[in-house]
Symmetry: C2
């Protein structure tokens, strides 16, 4: 069969280090499972800015459009904090999401049994936690126009004299397609979707609620659907997170709520994500996979980073891009095995201490467990 | 001296029940501390809609503008879920905030020692927690124009054919005044402010960051200031909440982050809030006080509600409207005393059980402790 084409964009900070471990894992599946991968590499974020003066070149963008899956490490760092908005590292990532039209961002928040005590929440609140947040990723206030900072000339009451504007804008079609993703995923899990917005305050939230309900009533009446205000959602995630199965929400609420959910598990260095778009000619969805954690510039280059989130992102690629669910499950099990054996990178050191292993050593342990 | 004028708006659900206990407390300060109060009552939210067809009448609005402080219970309930957006219970509250120009919403998240085990977080993470969130309350996406749901006629690709729009809009002046509130409050506490936005994604967030920094550099260089992306803020609140002293953020982020912070304490029924505007002719700020909890329709009318959040909101009124800091501290101490003695309403029942006391009994216990 055709090789699987991958574009690897390690990015900034710890991105290159964790991606090096993923490359080993990809190699393992090539050698031991007869999969064939066609791999290209590219630059994104600050790394691209340093070389090309832009966080993503048109060539890399075109390449991303042509492959089966993009694997991304992380972008950003204090070095780039004072860059102009239009060339900040984040713009590279946002351009990929927007131009590939990756509207469904899947962020599982799973609590690994071996790590349940790492959470700031009580073990009995988070043990066995397994939520999937489906975040809309191509629209809303991240991309709406008009936007910008302007002089507020005709307003003498405005000390400072400027105004900053962003626009939250959702079409029914944008809401329906991500709702469908959430319902499809729920059917393979707990069959329950909770949709979050602020319909009590925002008209775009009313439209969100109505369209999600419409998709439910017309296409997924078998899935249990509830609606919750996003502020209450944040509360409930802290209070009783296991009440949720799949959560579907917009770009901005998804950003915040998924980070809160990630932190419940106590192990941010473990959490992968997939960003999926429409099917391409070969039937595979447009796709980008990346860890939930950021570029962690403070620990970059020190072999301290945990590669598991990035490796589990590749497991998601196996599942969602290549329909290799069994291989994905094998890889996930290998991760669980090494954790159960006590392998720990520095971020996973509890108060009881112990000796952390390096980024590369963690990668090797996972290969061995495979 | 002149009496303190109060407008009491019990609102919906448990609002009237908890407010009845506040009225007893007000009476106590009149009798035992020689304070004199001039009290009016009014309707807001669903209660006003039921009588007048609007969640806030112009007469009540005018009364609110004329008093020293408004005390509000709670608004909303499932009975009103299908009302038109413009007459929903929430619109009454939002109109009060907007027309009184209550730009600084103070939401303390404090963990009461006697209740630290109620949190879903580990005791060692939340014991002694004392954060103050200062949320901008009169602008941002809650009020920005254009807004609404429209037909999206010229867009055949939009299945469903509608579009929902809201506008995030902040002026420099709006940001500076709430930043000043946060810095002033920080000086009386831990002298530390953390400002939260999404300056990596939103221009309004860039303006926010720049203006907060400007106020700091020009007027409060002695206060420690840091900036954090709001998604990371949500994470850090879960991970290590005690790193914060005062948090200042916009209307929407403040809504979500303050609810998450409230839940950290494990006792939502305990948390008060103050919403403050500019000084009136008598030097007192425009002010509205309300518990953070909602109308809790499921337990309304059953004498199960915890009146403490509403009583502590009155303590905030004593402090911020009437400059009666000692009286406020006495009231807060009385609450701590009854908790330490083991008085518990139903919401404060732990797994170990016990017998809850009624809303009124909790009010009486607090009076006795005074
Ligand atoms: C880096 C940033 C642009 C991004 C976002 O806000 O979406 C990040 O926080 C995320 O959640 O992937
Ligand atoms: C009731 C609602 C309009 C309100 C808000 O969103 O501001 C509430 O959630 C709050 O935080 O006071």
């Amino acid at each position: 069969s055709d090789p699987y084409s991958l574009l690897i964009l390690p990015g900034d900070g710890i991105g290159p280090e964790v991606m090096a471990e993923v490359v080993k894992v990809i190699g393992w599946f090539g050698t031991h499972r007869g999969m064939s991968f066609d791999i290209s590499q590219g630059l994104v974020g600050g790394a691209s800015y340093d070389t090309h003066g832009t966080p993503l070149t048109d060539d890399t963008m075109a390449l991303a459009q042509s492959v089966d899956a993009v694997l991304l490490g992380a972008v950003g760092g204090p070095k780039y904090d004072n860059l102009d908005f239009s060339v900040k590292p984040e713009r590279g990532l946002l351009r990929l999401r927007k131009e590939m039209d990756l509207y469904a961002n899947l962020r599982p928040a799973q609590c690994f049994d071996a790590l349940a005590d790492f959470s700031s929440l009580k073990r009995e609140v988070v043990a066995g936690l397994d939520i999937l947040i489906v975040r809309e990723l191509t629209s809303g206030i991240y991309f709406g126009e008009p936007r910008g900072i302007h002089a507020d000339g005709n307003n003498p009451g405005n000390e400072g004299g400027r105004v900053g504007i962003n626009t939250q804008r959702y079409t029914s079609g944008e809401i329906r397609r991500v709702a469908r993703s959430a319902f499809e995923l729920a059917r393979k899990r707990g069959n329950k979707v909770c949709s979050m917005e602020k319909a009590n305050v925002m008209e775009s939230g009313i439209l969100w609620r109505e369209e999600v309900q419409w998709v439910h009533d017309n296409e997924y009446p078998d899935v249990e659907l509830s609606h919750m205000y996003a502020d209450n959602g944040a509360m409930q995630l802290v209070r009783r997170p296991r009440q949720f199965d799949v959560i579907v929400t917009d770009n901005l609420f998804g950003d915040i709520l998924s980070d809160a959910a990630a932190m419940l598990t106590g192990s941010l260095g473990m959490l992968p994500s997939a960003s999926l778009g429409a099917p391409m000619a070969n039937g595979r969805p447009k796709a980008l996979y990346e860890p939930v954690h950021g570029s962690a510039p403070d620990i970059a280059g020190k072999a301290l980073a945990n590669p598991i989130a990035c490796i589990l992102s590749f497991a998601m690629a196996l599942r969602y891009s290549f329909d290799q669910g069994d291989a994905a499950a094998d890889l996930e099990r290998a991760v669980e095995t090494v954790l159960a054996q006590g392998a720990r990178t520095a971020d996973l050191m509890g108060p009881e201490g112990g000796t952390p292993i390096s980024t590369a050593a963690m990668g090797d342990r996972i290969l061995a467990a495979l």
